[in-house]
Amino acid sequence: MHIDWKEYQTGGFYDELISSPGYPRRSARILAGYLASLSSEELQQRKAAAELAIKTLGISFTVYSEAGNIDREWPFDIIPRIISEKQWLKTSAGLQQRLAALNCFIHDIYNARKIIKDKVFPEALLAQSDNFRRECVGMQPALEVWAHICGSDLVRDGDGQFYVLEDNLRVPSGVSYMLENRKVTKRVLPELFENYLIQPVTEYPAQLFDTLAAISPRPLDYPEVVVLTPGIYNSAYFEHSFLAQQMGVELVEGSDLVVEDEMVYMRTIHGLSRVDVIYRRVDDLFLDPEVFRRDSALGVPGLMRAWLKGNVALANAPGAGVADDKAVYAHVPDMIRYYLGEEPLLPNVPTYLCNDPVQRDHVLKHLDELVVKPVNESGGYGMLMGPQASKRERQRFAGLIKANPRNYIAQPLVSLSTAPVLGEKGVEPRHIDLRPFILQGRNTWVTPGGLTRVAMTRGSYVVNSSQGGGSKDTWIVSDGEGR
């Protein structure tokens, strides 16, 4: 299984490490050389060490299946993905710009609605949005920020340019895996950290805590911040627990909280204790059975009353998901121009809105070239991959689009970049994407890199861990040759 980069075929896609067979990119030269210097046994040992580390560290995620929930070990490939610092600086600035505009948009939508009055954003899109929360109209959250934590999915097309595929503003997950991936890499490839100056990612929990503390309704030095989880059977429970631990705050479930006099308290061994900021990892509709789903056992009755009174801060704010909608996504470049008076630094993937009759016709005529996505799904569900789909499948989607056009958008198939993955027989290219995390409170901060997700099956574009995707450590390194 000894690695020979001359035999590595990228198949015409943009590869993150190898520009053409035998030629690593500048920032990947040391890595590629090092991997090629390892014997087959050494490579296998490193791979096994990574698997063992993941097992003993208990890095897992939950898969829902008919046979019950299974706690599965996190899939990880030991070869890191490298992005040059120069390119990352630009990308990072683009992400901050984007989140700033999205927060302006959400605040505007729930208050003055200037963007609609100025006819930059069509009101009709809003009226039919599943994630618009009437209950939030008129709310003025601290710092006018609604989405404090955003996970944007980036893809790199054949031209090497990063495009934003979507913005996750509800309860984006994955950041703990980004942190754990680095920990595992340090265990299994420690030598490389001698030769590379890699931007550390460990600052995230501290940055997250500062972001959350900044929106506390009580101006305390140490406001009571908690992480609200749906519980141990949630697929991201590992992450909820991890973040609470890293921030040194309580991890609570709905039943641990109680609202009295429009204030939120948690039940402790000392009695009730006031809570200031809730980093909630529970979806809007399950937050408060008084307002949203009555059957929710995950939420806290009265939580919305306390929030609307300004007695507790919620991150992300309820209703922030209004901008996490693939039809709204298409308008983000306009929002950046409208609110910030700037040109977008990061491009969108071109998007057709099926709601618009002209664009819908185009989509229906070109279903075999396009990817069709429902506007509100996450996890890669309910999609049509036009070029690979059967005729029957395309017909089914044509029917779905006509029945509910607002629910669908279509995009050209982006030929996702690849990176080498260590398999049984050596290295092979697999498609990847990137999810950086952006925080906005008093300041804005972007993770250096993010979570690289890998489609582990040859030729597949599906990177979601719930559907068999894997992951890689992501390195931001300076363009000079290492240290």
Binding site: I232, A244, Q245, D256, I269
Partner: protein
């Protein structure tokens, strides 16, 4: 500290302590039974009596032989008191308090669980059994050290300590109970043959001490030969031996001091302490000793309920009184 978290830490600690005790019990009885003639009143069934699992065992088994009993107590996933099940529960409680306990503790518990899950079924045979049980005992002891040395001695730590003391006190009473029920006069069945065991009595009391890791400390403390009265007194009333009931209750009382609203639990502990401390244990009558221990076990149960209703599930306690 959240009540729910306190509850999970408490049970994690109890299950860990139970795993260690169970592993030691299986080790010691395996050693003892290799030395005893077949048909002695102490046998593999004694393990079922100590662990209180006889009834459940009999529902699914006809034969009470070594293989069946060991498999049941070691590796039966359906029996909630088996070593495997106990570690599943310890792990589940640790997994849901990962943000509270030291990261190494979680890794250690997870690892221990994986080892037992993967090898318990193969470790019923005598050779591998000893290795596995030693590993379990060692890991649990390491964990006790980890909590002591790597976790702030905060409220969470207090609950881990409380739970360990209660579990230890409970296990020690069970071990003494099994000895008294099988070895002392007027518990011997009419048609039994007391003479069959007597030559081995010394050996058995030594094993009882070993089940509590008490043999060496006992020898240092008691100069006389190993005998029923001294062993029972040592295991119940020695103030310095860490697994004696008296010591566990003293530790418990100490650990309760910094906790809020502790009056009810302290009262219950004081009750149990009076029972342990004041009596000169009567080992002449097996029946009297058995009754005494039954009462003591009940007091320990009462303390557990008081802890539960005061801190772990206060809401349920309120509902119950309304």
């Amino acid at each position: 500290m959240l009540s729910r978290v306190a509850e999970r830490l408490y049970w994690m600690s109890r299950y860990l302590e139970r795993s260690e005790n169970l592993a030691r019990l299986l080790t010691v009885y395996s050693n003892l039974l290799f030395d005893l003639p077949r048909g002695a009143r102490i046998g593999w069934h004694t393990l079922l009596e100590i662990t209180g699992s006889m009834e459940e065992f009999q529902q699914s088994h006809q034969i009470t032989d070594e293989r069946a009993v060991i498999r049941y107590l070691l590796a039966d996933a359906r029996y909630p008191g088996s070593l495997l099940s106990t570690l599943v529960l310890a792990r589940e409680n640790a997994r849901t308090t990962r943000e509270i306990i030291p990261a190494e503790a979680w890794e250690q518990i997870n690892n221990l669980y994986l080892v037992v899950r993967d090898s318990a079924g193969r470790s019923v045979a005598r050779g591998p059994r000893q290795d596995l049980l030693q590993q379990v005992i060692g890991s649990c002891q390491q964990l006790t050290g980890l909590f002591e040395g790597a976790m702030s001695h905060n409220s969470g730590y207090r609950f881990i300590e409380l739970a360990r003391s209660i579990e230890r006190a409970d296990m020690t009473t069970r071990i003494v109970h099994a000895g008294s029920a099988n070895l002392l006069p007027d518990n011997v069945p009419e048609d039994g043959e007391p003479a069959a065991v007597e030559p081995y009595e010394n050996l058995i009391w030594m094993s009882i001490l070993r089940s509590s890791s008490a043999y060496q400390m006992y020898r240092q403390h008691v100069q006389d030969r190993v005998n029923a009265e001294d062993v029972v007194t040592f295991l119940l009333q020695d103030p310095l031996f860490p697994r004696s009931v008296l010591h566990c209750l003293n530790r418990l009382e100490e650990g309760l001091q910094p906790l809020p609203h502790n009056d009810r639990v302290l009262r219950d502990v004081a009750g149990a302490l009076r029972r342990v401390g004041d009596t000169r244990v009567n080992v002449q009558s097996g029946r009297a000793l058995t009754e005494y221990i039954d009462a003591l076990q009940q007091e320990i149960g009462t303390i557990h309920i008081a802890i539960e209703q005061t801190w772990l599930q206060p809401a349920i306690a309120q509902d119950a009184t309304q």
